[in-house]
Symmetry: none
Subunit: 196 residues, 4 copies
């Protein structure tokens, strides 16, 4: 195993530990010491790989955003039926959230009130996702597959609606399997743009 691999491993271990700790205690209540302990390192070790606590949190946020975004994009690209691209994205996102509960909590709960310093990042991320939806809806409108609607509002509202379903699951455990919410949510969203 090369030096870089070992380093990579250590960084990975720290990020895993940070995810665990942040999603469990929230940004402010998570101590760098906790992260060091869980990752089986020392505080100094953490600070060797990351300049500060904030950066660790941002790394995780980016990771989750990239994961979700790329999965969604990929799912839409793979689905040939224009009418079903949205469904495919929705399903894959629910599945991704379901598979990464801690990340989901970080993303949908902890990141929001973590402090002014993270607002910009979260706005970027939200903008990206809402934009993805909006662009897709615009395409559907352009192709005449749905009636013209305010796709920007729809993008934001959809994003919020899905998030809220996931947030509820993260915090209450309902529904037991997140994917079980898929059919109802899919129908709701479809109907909302006049698609049956």
């Amino acid at each position: 195993m090369s030096m870089s691999d070992k380093s990579q491993n250590r960084i990975e271990r720290i990020l895993d530990a940070a995810l665990q700790v942040f999603s469990d205690k929230g940004y402010k209540d998570a101590a760098v010491d906790d992260i060091a302990t869980v990752s089986d390192t020392s505080k100094g070790g953490v600070y060797f790989h990351f300049p500060n606590k904030k950066t660790i949190f941002l790394s995780l946020l980016d990771k989750m955003a990239d994961l979700l975004y790329s999965r969604a994009e990929e799912a839409m690209a793979k689905e040939p039926d224009m009418r079903r691209k949205g469904d495919a994205a929705l399903l894959v996102m629910l599945r991704t959230f379901a598979k990464h509960r801690a990340m989901s909590k970080l993303f949908l709960v902890e990141a929001l009130g973590a402090g002014r310093e993270f607002n910009d990042k979260m706005l970027d991320i939200n903008f990206r996702f809402a934009g993805l939806i909006t662009r897709h809806l615009n395409e559907l409108v352009a192709l005449g597959m749905i009636e013209p609607i305010d796709t920007e509002i729809a993008g934001v509202a959809w994003f919020g609606g899905v998030n809220e379903i996931v947030r509820r699951w993260v915090l209450t455990g309902k529904p037991e399997k997140l994917e079980d919410a898929y059919p109802a949510l899919r129908d709701l969203l479809r109907r909302s743009i006049g698609q049956f």
Copy 2:
């Protein structure tokens, strides 16, 4: 002015200051000292009226929740047309959020990541609002005014959708006037339950 008035004033001043400080800095980053300074009191003065920081935050949360909830209920009660009760509630909520930007930020941004101690309270509140929507949708279904749907999912998703619109407005200032989002949002929600 009576003693009680003065006392009420002071408490009111502290709550106003707390709202300002919390919504500006977030729960953790807000110092009780900041609240004291802004409310033109001393730290001891704040602690004379409130047992701790947490209670101040919860007071504000309750206040906003009660305000929103009572306004929404009232609006629905006043609207005789069954089909428009939802619209009325939506409009009045947007207006209420618009009138209380700082409260909205507290409610939709800061309260979420403020720490485990507030999760329960927020879940209660979310549950109340989503429940209000769900009950209304159930009525519509029972009256045969809309097709049977999963009203629970719809309640949660709607709540999340509206919140996201308000959240975006709080954080980015778009749309300049929050009420401008009303028509598009109303149509989106109506369509989503098959109502035209």
Copy 3:
């Protein structure tokens, strides 16, 4: 009831409350607010009658010291048999401690570590009591009733010995009735000065 009586009553009530609170929580942990509450007054009320917390504590200390000292002196004066004056004093002191458990705790436990400001007072008090014993022993020696001994050391040691018995009773409840320790203690002290 005259004004002065009422005032006396109030002062008495405050002192009673203070005794309770001090002996329960110790000097530092007793809040003036606690005293006010227990005495059914307000903080301002307490400060009207006493200039500060320290003074209240000192008043109680003086009260207990005077009580003990006068009882002991009186008992010795009443006892005609020179040989039994000491026994009489010992018995009456044990009885007085037994009747005033809270005071005893204040006197023998809380007053010691209450802070530098009380050291002088406690030294005075200890000096008075040890001196009483020493003077009595000196008399016995002068009368040729006991052999010459270091009466100063004896006075201090006796005082400490009795105190320790009472302290143990205050803190552990043993012996159930403090007076039960009298015979053994009396014999011990008598023997220590060669008196049978």
Copy 4:
């Protein structure tokens, strides 16, 4: 000098400083900041080595108790003459107290009123010492070297008597050399159990 040595040094320095500050100001009035300053560290440094203020105080108490107890036991073990074991213990205790004036003050003055949290510890310690005396007296009785007496009361009273002598020395400086009290005290105690 190894890491552990340095660390030991720092801990030792903190304990020394704590002893100084506690015995000077008392438990409640001693600030952790004071201890940090005197030990030439920072507050954080103190808290790195000790979890809280209480633990520091208890450490010192235990240290002194162990020191006194082991010295007393050792002295008794070394003295072959059964009749003189008590004297040996008394002398060595007076010498130990004399050598550690600050510790003595902590032990005999500050620890008593330091708060409910320390009562248990002090009761334990007192019980140990009084028990040591009582056991020794029981042996003397069993060997027929002294008449049967209430050895429990005697143990407690002796312990209190000796303590009071030391306490007086700690607080007033009399007698200048604590050991000067030894002969008189020894004779007093001997006589009290009918031993000449």
